[in-house]
Amino acid sequence: MKTREEILKAIKEIMVEMFEMDEQAITLEARLYEDLDFDSIDAVDMIVRLKELTGKAVKPEDFKTARSIGDVVEAVYKMLND
């Protein structure tokens, strides 16, 4: 998993499975809290799953400032290519 496309695909799979969301709703522009009804517990769950997926710990600071799916993809991309 290297490219942004691959990361987005993986994030979509997590969200469909964990939050039972419709895959079509999960776009780069979708806002986590406003559009996808994310809450503080979801953020914690998401960090755990991303760690399982990438083998690296996402920086919670990056996640705290993430507002959209695009921001999450960017944070994971940065982490994998650091």
């Binding site: 419709d22 517990i41 953020a43 769950d45 919670p60």
Partner: protein, 569 residues
């Protein structure tokens, strides 16, 4: 750290080394001298204000502590709400509270933590008058104010210190829970402050952040929500170095408790209590599947006709009957007890306390809803399900904007009052809440419809009764296990699955006890594909034992058929 507790009443007037660290906030330590100086500055400011009652909400614990003690010393009354939702703010203002702290994201509050105007001298607090009010959701649906005198909290702190003070020694308090609730207030702020331990201001998002926040000895003020999410990859080595792990807010699942014990070598210390009573009992789970709770010193439980009553040395005004507990309790001969669920309709969603009665009331207060019933669904993540009967305006909105928009609008209305974590995630729209013949809501049926297995069954969006049957609005999820092989690249819902779904829902709604005997007139007219939204109509004829079904969309039939139960005739 000194060997003795400093009573909180004397905290700012007692002689103590001014350079001892009391808090870690925003990347630096604050010492007792700085704390005292900024509190004094605020006392002067607050005394100049004509208000008596304040509602204090702060994201970080150090600024919270500053304002709390400034309000105490200024002789003001402090209300502490569990959240800073606009609706909560409104309720507090109706109670004549002046809002103080982080209430408006757009206008950050300036705590002036570097202020040091120390012309005023503080005198010790008056034990009879210094009190705070915890504002939490009550079982009747109305948030209720719970008054605590600082002297009561001091007794509880003494109990905690006696049990675990040696073990904690000089450890810093780290937390993944908020100080806006009683457990966090005591364990991460008032107890460390009184015992001369340093507390961390930030609420940590996850255990990695928590354990990496300090090189010093530390303990973790946790809750089941975080402990049950630990896994093989969690920072166990650092967790095992903690002096203690506390958990409260709800019972910790046995397997989660065992994992912590196995991976870190330390048992979680669980506290059972409530905002009304403070801590009541504690336990450390071991190998046995159910570990009973041991009462704290100074507590007794008595049983009366209407349930269990607590006599607690922390409670002053409980009267001769004691405080009636909302939990069902089974007392053992050794004085320890087991918890057997609540008697009222308060639930904990990931430790956030929620009154289902209040939620239903708020749903019905929106412009679109005539009737509502809510349940908690316990899964790997607890969620709330709502069964809702729309009124005329609601039906029009559904027609015009669709289901997702309607849900969004309802959630937005509710977010005025509730934390996002407790907002309903599963929704069923129906024409009436189904009742049993005894007049009770058919909870089992509703749970089954709200919580369908997303890999094997469709999502149920709503249902309506029809003469002799029921009509379900369903959505075919793309993630069903049937699609990948049937067929690769062209997913179609197999006919046999359609029949199985019809039978599944038929048996949920109707009492079908006879065995299946044969199938009649099965027709598959139009294929069903992922994301199709359909109506499933089911009719049950109890005389002929025939269950007929029909999958349709927009006037078009996809499939239909009839199953016959009982002896073939």
């Amino acid at each position: 750290m000194s060997d003795e507790l400093i009573p909180l009443l004397h905290h700012l007037t007692e002689l103590r080394p001014a350079n001892s660290s009391i808090a870690y906030h925003a990347g630096r330590y604050y010492d007792a001298g700085q704390f005292s100086a900024v509190v004094k500055s605020w006392v002067t400011k607050l005394q100049a204000q004509p208000f008596q009652r304040y509602a204090l909400y702060a994201e970080d614990t150090y600024p919270f502590a500053v304002m709390l003690f400034a309000l105490f010393h200024a002789g003001k009354e402090v209300w502490i709400p569990g959240n800073n939702c606009p609706g909560t703010a409104q309720q507090l203002q109706q109670q004549d509270c002046q809002l103080l702290g982080d209430w408006d994201k757009a206008r950050p509050f300036d705590y002036g933590l570097d202020m040091a105007e120390s012309s005023t001298d503080l005198s010790p607090l008056n034990p009879a008058e210094t009190r705070l009010v915890i504002f939490t959701s009550g079982s009747t649906g109305q948030p209720k104010p719970i008054e605590k005198r600082l002297s009561q909290l001091q007794i509880e702190i003494a109990t905690l210190e006696k049990l675990w003070g040696k073990r904690l020694a000089g450890a810093e308090a780290l937390a993944t829970v908020s100080h806006q609730h009683l457990y966090g207030l005591l364990f991460r702020l008032l107890w460390p402050l009184s015992a001369g331990r340093c507390f961390h201001s930030e609420i940590y998002l996850n255990p990695e952040m928590l354990v990496n926040s300090t090189q010093n000895a530390a303990y973790w003020v946790a809750s089941p929500a975080h402990l049950k999410r630990l896994d093989q990859d969690s920072p166990w080595e650092r967790i095992s170095n903690l002096n203690a792990i506390f958990s409260s807010g709800g019972p910790l699942q046995h397997n989660a408790a065992q994992q912590v014990l196995a991976c870190s070598g330390q048992p979680v210390i669980e506290i059972y209590g409530s905002s009304e009573t403070g801590g009541i009992a504690w336990r450390q789970q071991g190998d046995e599947p159910v570990t009973p709770w041991a009462l704290f010193e100074g507590m007794t439980l008595t049983r009366t006709d209407d349930g269990w009553h607590l006599h607690s040395s922390y409670l002053t005004k409980s009267g001769s009957d004691g405080f009636q507990l909302a939990d069902q309790i089974s007392l053992q001969e050794d004085g320890r007890f087991l918890l057997q669920g609540r008697l009222d309709r308060i639930v904990k969603i990931e430790e956030k306390r929620l009154s289902l009665t209040e939620l239903e009331q708020r749903l019905m207060d929106t412009p679109w809803i005539a009737d509502a019933f809510t349940v908690m669904i316990e899964k790997s993540r607890d969620v709330v399900g709502a069964v809702v009967v729309l009124n005329q305006d609601g039906l029009q909105l559904l027609e015009a904007k669709g289901r997702n928009q309607l849900i969004k609008q309802i959630r937005t209305a509710l977010s005025q009052w509730f934390d996002a974590v407790v907002l309903p995630r599963k929704w069923l729209f129906t024409d009436r809440i189904p009742m049993t013949t005894q007049g009770k809501v058919e909870k089992h049926l509703l749970m089954q419809l709200l919580n369908t297995d997303s890999r094997k069954l469709p999502q149920v969006h709503g249902f309506e009764s029809t003469p002799g049957g029921v009509e379900l609005d369903i959505k075919v999820s793309a993630e069903l296990v049937y699609f990948p092989d049937h067929f690769a690249g062209f997913p179609i819902l197999p006919g046999v699955v359609q029949i199985a779904w019809a039978e599944h829902f038929g048996k949920l709604f109707f009492a079908i006890s006879e065995p299946f005997s044969q199938m009649e007139t099965i027709k598959f007219v139009k294929i069903i594909q992922p994301r199709d939204e359909l109506k499933l109509t089911i009719k049950w004829n109890a005389n002929t034992c025939q269950l007929s079904f029909n999958f349709s969309s927009e006037q078009r039939v996809h499939s239909s058929g009839r199953m016959v139960y009982g002896e073939p005739r």
